[in-house]
C-alpha cells in the first residue's frame, strides 16, 4: 500500500488551490509531481502529510486515512518540506539526534538507511546546520526525514535552489532508497528531473494534466517537434506565432520548439516561410520530445 488520493479539492478563501486531484502511488514507487510554481504541489503535500484537511476527497497513506488516522501516519512517514526547516543553530549531529529521538529511535538503529548519504556530511557533523552549503543542507534534511525508517517519504521540491551536481547526486540517492521498499512522493518544477521518476503526474493550475511513466508519455506523444533557430530570436518567435500552420511555439534555450497543426507540414515549408520573413542562418530539425514539450503542449 502506497498512497491513494481520490478526488481531493482545497480552497483557500476564494482561490482554488487544487481541484479534483486523484492519483495512486504504488508501494516502493518513486512518483513525481511535476508542475510550475503555483500549480498546487505544496498544497497536495500538506494534505498527504496530514497538515492540511482537504475540502473534499479522500486520501490514504499506507492504508491509513489522513483525517482520521493522522496520528498513526505521523509515525510512519518522513517529510522534507520545500523550505529548509532544520534547526540552524544545532549541529548536523544534533539535528539528526533530535529527529531520531522524537521518533523514538536512535541513529545507530537505522544507520544503514542513511549511511550512503550521511557519510558525505559526516566530516561536518560538528558544524551548525546553518553554516552548511545548500546541497549539504538537503542531504542532512533527507537524513533527518529517513532516520526513523519511514514507509513513505514525502519530498517537496527537494532540489529547488540546489546546484546541478548536487541535484544529480540527490536523485541518485533517491534511486538507491527504492531498494529499501520506501514509497517516495517527490515534487519538482524541473522538467528534466521528471524522467528520473518511475511515474509522473503533470499538474498545472491545481489540475492533473496526465499521469504515466515518463517513457510512455514520450512514446505516446505523436506530434512532431521542430527545433528551429535563426539569427533573430525575438522576431523568430513572433513570426512563428504568426505562421498559419502553428499549433504551438515556445522558446527552449536558444531555439524555438514548434509544433505544427498537422504532421504534413514539411521542413521545407517552414524554411521557406522563414525566408520570406527575412530570417538568416535558419536551422530546422526534427527532435525527440522532452517532458517539457509534452507539458507545454498539454497546458
Amino acid at each position: 500500500m502506497g498512497i491513494l488520493v481520490e478526488n481531493i479539492s482545497k480552497k483557500y478563501q476564494n482561490t482554488t488551490a487544487i481541484q479534483d486531484i486523484s492519483f495512486e502511488v504504488n508501494k516502493g514507487e518513486l512518483f513525481g509531481l511535476i508542475g510550475p510554481d503555483g500549480a498546487g504541489k505544496t498544497t497536495i503535500f500538506r494534505i498527504v502529510t496530514t497538515l492540511l484537511i482537504p475540502n473534499s476527497g479522500k486520501v490514504t497513506v499506507a492504508g491509513l486515512d489522513v483525517v482520521q488516522q493522522y496520528k498513526q501516519i505521523r509515525n510512519i512517514v518522513g517529510y522534507m518540506p520545500g523550505k529548509f526547516s532544520l534547526y540552524q543553530d544545532l549541529t548536523v549531529e544534533e539535528n539528526l539526534q533530535f529527529f531520531a529521538t522524537i521518533f523514538g529511535t536512535t541513529i545507530s538503529e537505522n544507520y544503514h538507511l542513511i549511511k550512503d548519504i550521511y557519510t558525505q556530511i559526516e566530516p561536518y557533523k560538528a558544524r551548525r546546520a546553518g553554516a552548511l552549503s545548500g546541497g549539504m543542507k538537503q542531504k542532512l534534511a533527507l537524513c533527518c526525514a529517513l532516520i526513523h525508517k519511514p514507509k513513505v517519504l514525502f519530498l517537496d521540491e527537494p532540489t529547488t535552489g540546489v546546484d546541478p551536481v548536487s541535484r544529480k547526486e540527490f536523485w541518485e540517492m533517491l534511486k538507491r532508497l527504492k531498494q529499501f521498499g520506501i514509497t517516495i512522493l517527490v515534487s519538482t518544477p524541473y522538467m528534466d528531473e521528471a524522467s528520473l521518476c518511475d511515474r509522473i503526474a503533470l499538474i498545472q493550475k491545481g489540475k492533473i494534466l496526465k499521469i504515466d511513466t515518463p517513457q510512455r508519455l514520450i512514446q505516446n506523444f505523436s506530434k512532431i517537434i521542430w527545433n528551429i533557430k535563426s539569427s533573430n530570436k525575438y522576431l523568430l518567435l513572433e513570426d512563428l506565432k504568426a505562421f498559419e500552420h502553428k499549433h504551438s511555439v515556445f522558446a527552449f534555450g536558444d531555439s524555438m520548439h514548434f509544433i505544427a497543426k498537422t504532421d504534413l507540414v514539411s521542413k521545407k515549408e517552414i524554411e521557406n516561410y522563414l525566408k520570406t520573413k527575412n530570417h538568416s542562418d535558419i536551422e530546422v530539425n526534427k527532435i525527440e520530445p522532452t517532458i517539457e514539450d509534452i507539458f507545454m503542449d498539454l497546458s
Binding site: P81, S85, L90, T101, I102, G104
Partner: protein
C-alpha cells in the same frame, strides 16, 4: 517523558547559543534595577521659586525667608511686577510664583485673615501636585507661627489659650519613605515578566518562521510534550532572573526581604505559568517574531501602567481600577511588596495565590486549546 527531556535539552542548547541571550539574562536585570530604581524617583528637588512682594512689610519678608530656609526651594528670585514673574515662568526660569498682596500685614492684624496667590507651572502634572503640597506646607507653617505671634502681641482681653495640633506621620513598612524600597520589588516583577513573556512568545513563533514547526508537526510528538518542552526552559529562566534580581535587591539596595523567600518562589512559579501561557497564546496567533513582539509590547505597556507599579491603583478612576483586576502584574507587584516589605505570610497572601492559580489554569487552557497542529 524522555521526549520532553530531550526537547528541553535541545531548547537550552539553542537558548545559550543565542548570542544575545546571556547578556539579556544577566546584564538586563542589573541595568534595569540599577538605572530604573535610581532614576525613576518621584521626589522633587530644586524647585525654583519667584516672589512678587507688593506688601514689603516685616511679615511678608518673614514669609519669604521661610520659603528660602526650605532646602528644596533651590533658587529664589524677586520680581517687582507679576508680569515679570510670569514672563520668567514662560521661559522656564521659575516653577512657582508666590504673589504677596498689598497690606498683607495690615489685613492680618485687622481681619485675622488674608489671601495670597500661588502660581505653579503644571506642564508636569505630577510634579505640580507635589510642589503644591510643599508650598502649602510652608504657608501653613508660617500661618501657625504668625498666629501665635499675633495672639501674643494683640493682648486680647479674653486671652484664650492657643491650641495647636500637629500631626506626626509614621510610615509603616518603609520608615524613611525610601523610594527604592518601594520601587525595587516592583521593578523586579517587571523584569521577570518582560523577559519571560517576550522570550516565550518569540520562541514558538520562531519555529513557525523558520519552518521547523511544519516538520515537527509531521512527527509523533504530542502537543503537550512540545509545549512543555518549549516553555519549561523559560520557566527556569524566569526563576533564575528572579533570583538574580532578589540578590541585587538585597546586596546592592539593601531592600528588606521580611517574608519567606519560599513563598516568593512559590508564587513566582505559578505566576510564570500565567506569563508563559500568555506568550504561547500570542505565538499561536502570530506568524513572525516581529508580530509577536509588537503584540507582547502592547500587553506589556497596558499591564505595566495598570499594575500600580508607578501610579497607585487607589488613585485611578473606578473603571480603571476594575481593569486592574485582570492584570496579573498587579497581583505580583502587590504580592512582592507585601511579602518583601511587610513580611506577609502565606495566609495573608492566599487570595493572591488563588487568583494567580485560577489565572494560570485559564490562560493555559486557552493557549493549549488554540494551539493546533493541523490547519
Amino acid at each position: 517523558m524522555k521526549i520532553i527531556l530531550f526537547i528541553i535539552q535541545k531548547e537550552f542548547k539553542q537558548i545559550f547559543r543565542n548570542k544575545a541571550m546571556l547578556p539579556l539574562l544577566f546584564v538586563m536585570p542589573f541595568m534595569q534595577l540599577l538605572i530604573l530604581s535610581n532614576a525613576a524617583s518621584f521626589e522633587i528637588k530644586n524647585i525654583k521659586i519667584g516672589f512678587v512682594n507688593h506688601d514689603n512689610s516685616q511679615t511678608s519678608y518673614k514669609l519669604i525667608s521661610k520659603f528660602q530656609s526650605v532646602s528644596i526651594f533651590s533658587l529664589s528670585e524677586n520680581f517687582s511686577t507679576i508680569k515679570d514673574a510670569e514672563a520668567s515662568m514662560e521661559q522656564g526660569k521659575v516653577d512657582v510664583i508666590v504673589e504677596i498682596p498689598n497690606h498683607l500685614e495690615k489685613k492680618l492684624l485687622n481681619d485675622n485673615q488674608t489671601s495670597l496667590s500661588v502660581i505653579i507651572n503644571a506642564i508636569d502634572g505630577a510634579a505640580a501636585g507635589i510642589e503644591n503640597v510643599y508650598v502649602t506646607q510652608v504657608i501653613k507653617d508660617f500661618n501657625q507661627s504668625i498666629k501665635s505671634e499675633l495672639v501674643m502681641t494683640s493682648f486680647d482681653s479674653e486671652n484664650k489659650p492657643y491650641f495647636n495640633v500637629i500631626a506626626i506621620p509614621s510610615f509603616w513598612y518603609n520608615n524613611t519613605l525610601n523610594y527604592k524600597t518601594y520601587m525595587v520589588p516592583g521593578i523586579l516583577v517587571l523584569l521577570v515578566t518582560m523577559l519571560t513573556l517576550f522570550l516565550s512568545g518569540m520562541n514558538i513563533v520562531r519555529e513557525k518562521e523558520i519552518g521547523t514547526l511544519e516538520q515537527i508537526n509531521v512527527t509523533p510528538i504530542k502537543k503537550h510534550q512540545f509545549i512543555v518542552g518549549k516553555l519549561f526552559p523559560f520557566w527556569v529562566i524566569g526563576l533564575l532572573v528572579l533570583t538574580i534580581g532578589l540578590l541585587i535587591a538585597k546586596i546592592v539596595f539593601s531592600i528588606p526581604i521580611l517574608g519567606n523567600v519560599f513563598i516568593i518562589y512559590g508564587f513566582a512559579a505559578l505566576y510564570l505559568m500565567v506569563i508563559l501561557g500568555i506568550g504561547l497564546f500570542i505565538s499561536n496567533f502570530t506568524e513572525t517574531q516581529q508580530q509577536s513582539m509588537f503584540i507582547s509590547w502592547f500587553f506589556m505597556v497596558v499591564f505595566i501602567l495598570m499594575s500600580g507599579l508607578f501610579t497607585p491603583i487607589e488613585s485611578m478612576p473606578v473603571w480603571a481600577q476594575r481593569i486592574t483586576y485582570i492584570n496579573p502584574i498587579r497581583y505580583f507587584v502587590e504580592f512582592t511588596r507585601m511579602v518583601m516589605l511587610k513580611g506577609s505570610d502565606f495566609y495573608e497572601v492566599r487570595i493572591h495565590f488563588m487568583i494567580i492559580l485560577a489565572y494560570a489554569i485559564l490562560v493555559n487552557f486557552l493557549a493549549i486549546w488554540s494551539y493546533k497542529k493541523v490547519n
